[in-house]
C-alpha cells in the first residue's frame, strides 16, 4: 500500500517535471524566434497584397484600435482600397486570411491564405487558386455564403469536396474580417 502510494507520487512527479522543463525550454525558444517569425509574416502579407491587387503601387499601415489596416494606393497616392488580416479557427488549427476590398468597401478584390494547417490533400486545398479565385468581385454588404454544389445565387462560393469545415471556416473568417474592417475604417474616418 505504502509502496504503491510512493510509486504514484513518483509518476506524478516525473510527468509534472518533464512537462515543466519542456514547457520552459519551448517558451524560451519561441521568445527568441518571435521577432523573426513576425517579420516573415509581414513579408508574406505584403507579397499577398501585391498579388491580389496588381495596380497597387504603395501600401501604408495604419494602427486603429490596436489593429492593423493596410491602405492601398495607386500612383500619385490615390487610394484604391484596403487590406486586412483576419484569423480564426479552422479544422485543425488557426487560419489566417488576407483580403483586399475596393475603396468604398463594396467589392472584394480577392483573398490569400497566409497561414493554415488544414489536412493535407483535403482542407489544404483552400490554398488552391480555383478556390481563392471564387472570392474575386463578391459583394461585401451581404455575407458571403458557402454552398456544397455549384453556386446558384449571388455571393456564394463552392466548398471544397470533403473539406466543408475548412471551406466554411475560410468564409466565416472572411465575413468576420469584413465587418471588423468596415468598423475600423469608419473609426478612422471620424
Amino acid at each position: 500500500m505504502k509502496d504503491s502510494l510512493r510509486y504514484n507520487l513518483r509518476v506524478i512527479f516525473v510527468l509534472t517535471f518533464a512537462s515543466l522543463i519542456c514547457g520552459f525550454v519551448l517558451s524560451f525558444v519561441f521568445n527568441s524566434a518571435k521577432a523573426k517569425i513576425k517579420e516573415n509574416e509581414k513579408k508574406d502579407i505584403y507579397r499577398a497584397i501585391y498579388q491580389i491587387v496588381d495596380n497597387c503601387k504603395n501600401v501604408k499601415e495604419k494602427r486603429i484600435n490596436e489593429e492593423t489596416v493596410y491602405y492601398l494606393f495607386k500612383e500619385k497616392d490615390e487610394l484604391i482600397g484596403y487590406a486586412y488580416l483576419s484569423q480564426g479557427q479552422g479544422y485543425q488549427g488557426k487560419i489566417k486570411i488576407l483580403f483586399a476590398v475596393d475603396k468604398s468597401i463594396e467589392r472584394l478584390l480577392g483573398i490569400e491564405i497566409i497561414e493554415s494547417v488544414e489536412t493535407p490533400g483535403l482542407g489544404s486545398r483552400i490554398n488552391e487558386e480555383d478556390f481563392k479565385n471564387q472570392f474575386k468581385n463578391l459583394k461585401t454588404n451581404v455575407p458571403v455564403e458557402c454552398v456544397k454544389f455549384s453556386p446558384q445565387k449571388e455571393n456564394q462560393v463552392q466548398a471544397i469536396t470533403s473539406a466543408t469545415i475548412s471551406s466554411r471556416a475560410v468564409v466565416s473568417i472572411l465575413n468576420k474580417g469584413i465587418q471588423s474592417l468596415k468598423s475600423l475604417v469608419k473609426e478612422d474616418g471620424k
Binding site: 509518476v11 516525473v14 519542456c22 524566434a33 523573426k36 508574406d44 493535407p120
Partner: protein, 195 residues
Amino acid sequence: MGSRSFKEGLWTNHPIFRQLLGMCPTLAVTTTVLNGISMGLAVIFVLFFSSLVVSLLRKVVPYQVRIAVYTIIIATFVTIVDIFLKANFPQVSKALGPYVPLIIVNCIILGRCEAFASKNKLSLALLDALGMGVGFFWGLVTLASVREILGQGTILGYRILPPSFNPLVVMILPPGAFLVLGSLVAIMNRLERIK
C-alpha cells in the same frame, strides 16, 4: 556492437525500405529533393536528441508513463525544429506545412526511443539514432530524386533532363510516391538476395 547499431538503420534494418516505418512523411513530402533533405535533417535532429534524453532518463521514468514522457520529449524537439524553420527558412516551413509538427507521431522516433534508447546506454542509443536518422535521410533523398527527375526533369531546381523530355506528372502526385517506393523496396529485396 557499436558499429552494428549504426549499420542497422543505415542498411540491414533500414527504417523505410526494411521496416516500412514513417510512411506518411516518406510518401507525402518527397515531391522535391529539397523537401526530402529538409525533412530528413529534421528527423535526424529530433531522433538524435530524443534518444539522448530518453537514454539518460531510462532509469528515472516509471514504466507505466514511459510513452507519455517520450511523447512530451519528442514533441518538444519537434516544436523547436518547427519554430526554427519558421524563423529562418519560412519557404521550407511553408512547403513542408503540417508535416513538420507531424514528426511527433513518426513511428521511427517513438519506435527507436521505446525499442532501443530506453534499454541501452547513451553511446549505443546515439549511434542507433544516427544510423536510423541517416538511413531515413538517404531513403527520402533517393525517393525524392527519382520523383523530381521523372516528374519535373530537375534536381534541386536545376534542369538536368533536356526540355524535350515530357515530365511524368504522375510522379509528383501521390500515386508516383507509391510506385517509386514499391520499386525501391523491390530493388532492396533483390540486393539482399544476391548477398
